[in-house]
């Protein structure tokens, strides 16, 4: 049974089209010109209870708008949004008590209060029973390490601490469904890992359904079974993570940093796409070239300081899928 259903959902913003200069500003004052921006164009998908779904796309693809349609913040211009058997916008008060939402770029903590005060207020807002509240706090202390900074003011927290506190705040009332919009944005590897582990734990142990957006392909590969890709407001892909990886092509880049100025010779099966005195970038096909072979070849030949394998970015994945679709049409 799908607990979340989006059917042909559209969202159009109407914005005033500014005109340049004083004459333009005056013209605007009397006859404003409007422009419609289609942030979401006829998107349909469904999510089953207990799923963990990644939602990706480049900047401005309509991810946040879709999340806002699903959380009842915005009303769809057309189409249907049905979650937990309710209409998020119309049944807002009943609906939002059953979901949790994290916006990575906007904290929900009360800025001038200690984190613990925010939690206390949330406990009252959602009517969380005392045992549930205690049990959840213990879990958050364990996995997210909240105990270290629970009594600090929200505005004094580091970004990583703030994000952990925000995620905990969204889960205090045992929501059935959680939306996370960029929960790892701006975080370092350690903090990202902590948050990924926590999301997996909540999903696996409690069966909480999760939809998370991210810019980070690794977020998706580590945590989600299924991904949905959108760009320019339209759905591009809905399927497994491995399916996305194969669609995104098998080309990878090897970046080599040298200790001394080096001129590289070409290596068979690779393409030298960028070279300067201390760095070279080889592009290769993961299907035909074993990574460890390439690495050992390079390491034997040159004096190496560092090597990195570059995974394709979300932007390039989207570009590949998009052009593949165009070709099919």
């Amino acid at each position: 049974m799908a607990i979340l259903e989006l059917t042909e959902a559209c969202k159009t913003y109407r914005i005033v089209q500014r005109q340049d200069g004083i004459s333009g500003a005056l013209k605007n004052l009397f006859v404003p010109r409007y422009r419609d921006i289609q942030a979401v164009k006829r998107i349909s998908f469904a999510i089953e209870a207990g799923e963990m779904v990644g939602f990706i796309g480049p900047n401005g693809a309509g991810k946040s708008t879709t999340i806002k349609l699903l959380t009842g913040v915005l009303v769809p211009t057309s189409g249907r949004v049905q979650v937990l058997g309710l209409s998020p916008f119309k049944d807002r008060k009943r609906y939002v008590g059953r979901i949790g939402v994290v916006f990575g770029q906007r904290t929900q903590l009360w800025w001038d209060l200690p984190v613990s005060d925010t939690f206390d207020l949330l406990r009252k807002i959602y009517g969380v029973p005392p045992q549930t509240y205690r049990r959840n706090l213990e879990l958050f202390d364990d996995i997210l390490g909240l105990a270290d900074f629970r009594h600090q003011l929200a505005r004094q927290l580091s970004l990583g601490q703030r994000m952990r506190a925000d995620i905990a705040a969204a889960l205090l009332h045992d929501p059935e469904l959680v939306f996370l919009d960029e929960p790892t944005i701006g975080l370092d590897i350690v903090a990202k890992d902590k948050i990924r582990g926590f999301m997996q734990h909540i999903n696996a142990e409690r069966g909480v359904t999760m939809l998370l957006t991210s810019h980070d392909m690794q977020d998706m590969e580590r945590t989600c079974q299924r991904v949905i890709v959108i760009d320019k407001g339209a759905l591009l892909y809905d399927g497994s993570v491995s399916g996305l990886a194969s669609l995104s092509g098998s080309r990878r880049s090897l970046i080599v940093d040298f200790n001394v100025h080096t001129r590289c010779e070409p290596i068979s099966g690779t393409e030298l796409i960028q070279e300067n005195a201390l760095r070279a970038r080889f592009s290769f096909d993961r299907g035909s070239m074993q990574v460890h072979e390439l690495v050992s070849q390079v390491a034997k030949k040159y004096d190496i300081a560092d090597m990195t394998i570059e995974e394709p970015s979300i932007e390039s994945v989207v570009k590949t899928i998009f052009s593949a679709q165009q070709a099919r049409l």
């Binding site: 008060k93 008590g97 939402v101 770029q105 906007r106 001038d112 209060l113 005060d117 807002i125």
Partner: protein, 263 residues
């Protein structure tokens, strides 16, 4: 759930108490404002002799209460407007609470702290300096308090309507400024109704401004008696209902207009 609204009111009240210098300045501000207005009325009475139908003492009492309390009943339209403009209102929408109810709780908390720590001391100082008429009867005191509470609700409802205008207009500064000026002039705080010309009174009687400071003050001063007290209270209640309905309609329409871009 109910606890959450009370908690919001309590937190706002405590937040106000945290700033001591602000409190002192608030008291001083109110005392000066009342003293200046009392001086003006004294001068007016001195030059017009005994022509007035209402005594100087009653006029001073009106000034003490209405101007003093108007300092405490100051609504914060801009912070809601800011939330709507920046999209920070998302956080409030995601709480299973009534938005107007949350604002009411915060307004009560703020007014509560201003009444307690700013108005009461300022009022005590001014009462000692300028004197004060006693309430018209023993019953007038509780009715005055009830009526003043309804004045607060009228002001709160008007404030909500002003804030919700920002769903449509980027800048509500001019709307709020006009509203504040109208409240100052037409609510009976700065110009008691007994000094107002008839044509102006005809307008004021049909407006919600009459349901603000003049309603409780006329009870305290005994300008209304018996059934007309009840009539005045009923009129206040009616204005609250009408303004709240209007605010709720704007909220429902405004939420459809809301656009939250980015983040």
């Amino acid at each position: 759930m109910k606890g959450a609204y009370i908690e919001i009111a309590r937190k706002t009240l405590l937040e106000g108490l945290a700033f001591r210098v602000n409190t002192l300045i608030g008291i001083l501000d109110t005392v000066i404002l009342i003293a200046v207005n009392v001086a003006i009325w004294k001068a007016v009475y001195a030059s017009t002799g005994t022509l007035q139908t209402v005594s100087l003492e009653d006029t001073i009492t009106n000034t003490l209460f209405a101007i003093g309390i108007s300092q405490a009943f100051w609504m914060d339209e801009y912070s809601i407007a800011h939330k709507i403009r920046t999209g920070a209102i998302t956080n409030d929408i995601l709480r299973p609470m009534h938005f107007g109810g949350m604002i009411l709780a915060a307004d009560i908390g703020r007014a509560g702290y201003r009444l307690l720590v700013e108005f009461l001391p300022a009022f005590a100082i001014c009462a000692l300096l300028f004197g004060l008429s006693a309430p018209a009867s023993a019953l007038a005191l509780p009715l005055f308090v009830l009526s003043m509470a309804m004045s607060f609700l009228v002001l709160h409802s008007i404030g909500l309507i002003m804030s919700y205008i920002s769903f449509w207009y980027f800048n509500i500064f001019s709307f709020v400024t006009i509203k504040n000026a109208a409240v100052l002039v037409l609510s009976g705080a700065y110009i008691p109704y007994w000094f107002m010309p008839d044509w102006m009174m005809a307008f004021v009687r049909a407006s919600p401004f009459q349901a603000i400071y003049s309603a409780p003050m006329s009870i305290w001063l005994g300008h209304v008696n018996g059934s007309s007290v009840l009539y005045g209270l009923a009129k206040q209640a009616l204005w609250i209902v009408a303004l709240q309905l209007c605010a709720q309609a704007l909220w429902v329409l405004g939420r459809r207009k809301l656009a939250v871009n980015g983040g």
